[in-house]
Assembly symmetry: C2
Homo-oligomer: 440 residues x 2
C-alpha cells in the first residue's frame, strides 16, 4: 500500500469509525459469541501473498465486530469508563504518522518537551502542589505511563531503591538482600493509598495517612486512577487534599478525561528518585545534552525503553475541549449517577451500598447474594445493558458505572426501567419457587 | 467535536500524514532545536474555553515538527528501525475507534481471540516449536507486550515465582524472603540470552546455553527484539536454533516487521507459569467463562491491567503484505547493509568492527576513539543523515542501521559519500593540526 492508496483507505476508515461511533447504540452492547468463536473463521496461518484492503476490510464486520464488547455504547455501565473522543483519535493518527520512539530527548525533542509541559498543564488543572510540577527548573514533574499498574510498580521500585540506599548509608554492613528481606510495603486490600477504589469508588484518608508516612520515612504513592479526572472541578478538589504529603501521584486521563487509552498521568516530587532507580546510559542512547541537566530522558522514568508520542492526545483534548468542556463532561456523568441513585432509592426493594461520590452507583436488591447474582445474570443475559458486580463486606453488589461519552439521562432511565422489570420478574419467580417448596 | 466534524478533520489528518510520509525525505532528519525550545511557544496552562481544530492543526508545523527527529526519513540510520506501514496505521485507527480495554476475554472476546491466533500465525512464520503455540488446546501461547523490557520483566517475575515455589516445596522451612535473597539471574552485559544485541547485532550461542539452563532448572528467556523479524526468511532461521531449550521468547514486530509501535511479541511454553505469577481475580473482572479453562484472560500475562486491541495491527500487516512482502522488506534492508559494508571495505581508511549479519553495520575510521567521536560529531552536526555510536571492546564505533521502510540504494550511496567526504575533511584538519603542533 502506497501513500496514494492510504489517502483513499484512510478516509474510508475515518468514515467507518465515525459510523461505528455514531450508531453504536444500535449494536448489542455485549456480544453473543462463545469462547473459541474466532479461530475457525480465519485461516490457520498468514497468507503467502498480499491480500487486498477490501478483503481485510469486509472481515471487520464479519469476524471482529461480532466479538466486540462495545465499551462506548451508551448502554455500557460496566467496569469504569474507557475514555474516547474525536480529538484524541485525531492526535493518535498524528502520533502514528510521526512514529517516533521518544526514549531520550534527542530521539525526538518535541515528544519529550510536549509531555513535560502537558503534564504541568494537567497538574495545574487539578491544583497539584507546585512541587509536583516541572516548570523551568523544578525538582518534580510528570510522565505519561501506560497504566496505573505501571505507575504503581515504578513508585514501588523507586521507593525500594531509595530505602535500600538510605539503610545502606546508615548500616554499611548490611547487604542489599539483607535489607530487601526486611522491607515492608503497607497497603489495604486495594493496595496503595487510593482515591476512588474500583469496587465502590471509596476514598482513603490522605490527611491521616500522609503525616504518618512522612514521619516514618515511608514513600507514599496515591492512586486516583478513575477519580483523579474529577479533581478538575473545584467542587471535587477537596477529595485530593493531603496529596501534599505524597511522593508520587497518579491518575488515568484514559479513564475519564476523554483521552483514549493509554495515557496514565504520574507525577513525582523528586524526579531524581525515579532516575536514581532506573537510569540506563548505554552509549547509543547518549546525546549531546544528556548530562547537561537541561533535558529529560523519559526512559529513566519508566519500565519500557520505547515510548509513543502520547502527549499529542492530551494536547488535542485539553485544547479542543478546554477546561470548561471537560468539567461539563465530568459533571454530566456525576449528575447521571445521582439520577440513577435517586431511582434506586425510590424503589423499596433495592438498597444503595456505598456513598455515591462520583460516577459509580453500588446497589443491590435487599436480600441474599444468590438473589443478586440471579439479577445480574438476567441483566447480562438480556444484553440490553452491561454491568459487572463487586463484593462489599461479603455482600454481592451490582456496580452501575456511568461510562460512555454519549450517555444521556434517557439511557439511564431506560437502564433503570429495564433492571426494575427484570427484578420484578425475578422476585415473582423466586416467590413462586418458595411457595412451591413450602407446599412440598 | 461531533462525528460530522471528525469525518472532515479525520480526512484532513489522513492527508497530512500521507503528505508527511511521502515528502519526509525533504525534511532535515534531525531537528535544530535546543533544550527547552517548546515551553515558551505555548501557554502556561490549558485554555478555559475550547479552541478550534484549525488552531491546533496549524501548531503542528509551527511547534511540533521543528522538534521532531524523523525516524522514517530514508536518511535516518540511528538506533534500530521503528516499524511503520500504512496497513498498521489503518489498523490503529480502527483500534482507537473500537477503544475496548481487553483485560479479560469478556471485556472484548475478539480482542483476546484475534491476539491468540495472530501470535500463532507469527510463531509459525518464524517456525517456533509447536510447544510455544496456543493452537486449540496447547499449553503455551503468545501475548503482545508493550516492549521487550516488559517481556523480559514478565519472564523474570514468572521465573522467580516458579523457582520460589519449587524451592518451598522442597524445603518448606524456608521463607519467601530467605529464598529470594539467594536467587541468581544470569546475564551478560546485554542481559538475558540475546539474538541481535543493540550495539552490534551479535548473537548468543543458544545451543550452548540452552542445555545448561535445562539441566540446571534455570528459566531461559531469549530476547530477539530486533533480529527476530529476520527469522521469517528461511535463510536466517538458523540463527534461532536452540529456541527449543527456552521457556520464553520475545521479538518486536514494532522494530522491523512494519507493525507500528507498540507490538512486542512474546511466547511461553507453559502459560501456567505466567498466570501462576500474575493471576488477579477481583469479582468485577470475573465472567461467565473465567474458570472454564476455555478462555484466555490476558491480564494474567502482563504487568498492566488494561490493554489495547493491538492484534489488529498484526492482522492488517500480515494480510496486506503477505509473508512474501515482509520477507522482501527484510531482505532489502539486509541487502542495503551489505551494500554499505562493501563501500566501507573499499575505503582503506575505515574498518568494519563486527560481522554484518542483518541490517546493522558497525564501522569506524582506523585510529583513535577521539577521531571517531569527531567524525560522528561532524556527521550529526551536518544533519544530512543521523547515526548513533556504540562501544565495542573499548572502541568507539559508529552504527549504521538500515531503518526506514522507504530507504533505497541511492540513500545508502549518498550517506556513504557524505560520510567519506566528512572523513576526508576531518583527516585533513587533524593532519594540519598535528603538523602545526609538530612545528611548535
Amino acid at each position: 500500500m502506497d501513500a496514494a492508496e492510504f489517502r483513499k483507505r484512510g478516509k474510508e476508515m475515518v468514515d467507518y469509525v465515525a459510523d461505528y461511533l455514531e450508531k453504536i447504540d444500535k449494536r448489542q452492547v455485549f456480544p453473543d459469541v462463545e469462547p473459541g468463536y474466532l479461530r475457525p473463521l480465519i485461516p490457520d496461518c498468514a497468507p503467502q501473498d498480499p491480500e487486498s484492503f477490501e478483503d481485510v476490510f469486509k472481515d471487520i464486520e464479519k469476524i471482529i465486530m461480532p466479538g466486540v464488547t462495545h465499551w462506548h455504547s451508551p448502554y455500557f455501565f460496566a467496569y469504569f469508563p474507557a475514555a474516547s473522543s474525536f480529538p484524541a483519535l485525531l492526535a493518535d493518527m498524528l502520533c502514528g504518522g510521526i512514529g517516533c520512539v521518544g526514549f531520550s530527548w534527542a530521539a525526538s525533542p518535541a515528544c519529550t518537551e510536549l509531555e513535560t509541559v502537558m503534564m504541568d498543564w494537567l497538574g495545574k488543572m487539578i491544583s497539584l502542589p507546585e512541587e509536583f510540577l516541572a516548570g523551568k527548573d523544578g525538582q518534580g514533574g510528570g510522565v505519561i505511563q501506560g497504566s496505573a499498574s505501571e505507575a504503581t510498580l515504578v513508585s514501588l521500585l523507586a521507593a525500594r531503591t531509595k530505602t535500600i540506599r538510605r539503610v545502606q548509608s546508615e548500616k554499611p554492613e548490611l547487604t542489599e538482600a539483607d535489607i530487601m528481606g526486611r522491607l515492608v510495603a503497607y497497603a489495604s486490600d486495594q493496595f496503595c493509598a487510593t482515591l476512588g477504589t474500583t469496587p465502590s469508588c471509596s476514598f482513603d484518608k490522605l490527611l491521616e495517612l500522609g503525616p504518618i508516612c512522612n514521619k516514618e520515612n515511608i514513600w507514599m504513592h496515591i492512586d486516583a486512577a478513575y477519580a483523579g479526572s474529577a479533581f478538575i472541578c473545584p467542587e471535587f478538589r477537596h477529595l485530593l487534599n493531603g496529596v501534599e504529603f505524597a511522593d508520587s501521584f497518579n491518575f488515568n486521563p484514559h479513564k475519564w478525561l476523554l483521552v483514549n487509552f493509554d495515557c496514565s498521568a504520574m507525577w513525582v516530587k523528586k524526579r531524581s528518585d525515579l532516575t536514581g532507580a532506573f537510569k540506563l546510559e548505554p552509549l547509543y542512547l547518549q546525546h549531546q545534552h544528556h548530562e547537561s541537566g537541561l533535558v529529560t530522558d523519559y526512559r529513566h522514568w519508566q519500565i519500557p525503553l520505547g515510548r509513543r508520542f502520547r502527549s499529542l492526545k492530551l494536547w488535542f483534548v485539553l485544547r479542543m475541549y478546554g477546561v470548561r468542556g471537560l468539567q461539563e463532561h465530568i459533571r454530566k456523568h456525576i449528575r447521571l449517577s445521582h439520577q440513577f441513585e435517586d431511582l434506586v432509592l425510590q424503589d423499596e426493594r433495592f438498597e444503595i451500598c456505598a456513598e455515591v461520590v462520583l460516577g459509580l452507583v453500588c446497589f443491590r436488591l435487599k436480600g441474599s447474594n444468590e438473589l443478586n447474582k440471579e439479577l445480574l445474570k438476567s441483566i447480562n443475559e438480556a444484553k440490553k445493558i452491561h454491568l459487572v458486580p463487586c463484593h462489599l463486606r461479603e455482600k454481592f453488589v451490582l456496580r452501575f458505572a456511568i461510562c460512555s461519552r454519549t450517555v444521556e439521562s434517557t439511557h439511564v432511565t431506560f437502564a433503570w426501567q429495564h433492571i426494575s422489570q427484570l427484578a420484578t420478574d425475578l422476585l415473582k419467580a423466586w416467590e413462586q419457587n418458595n411457595h412451591q417448596q413450602h407446599q412440598q
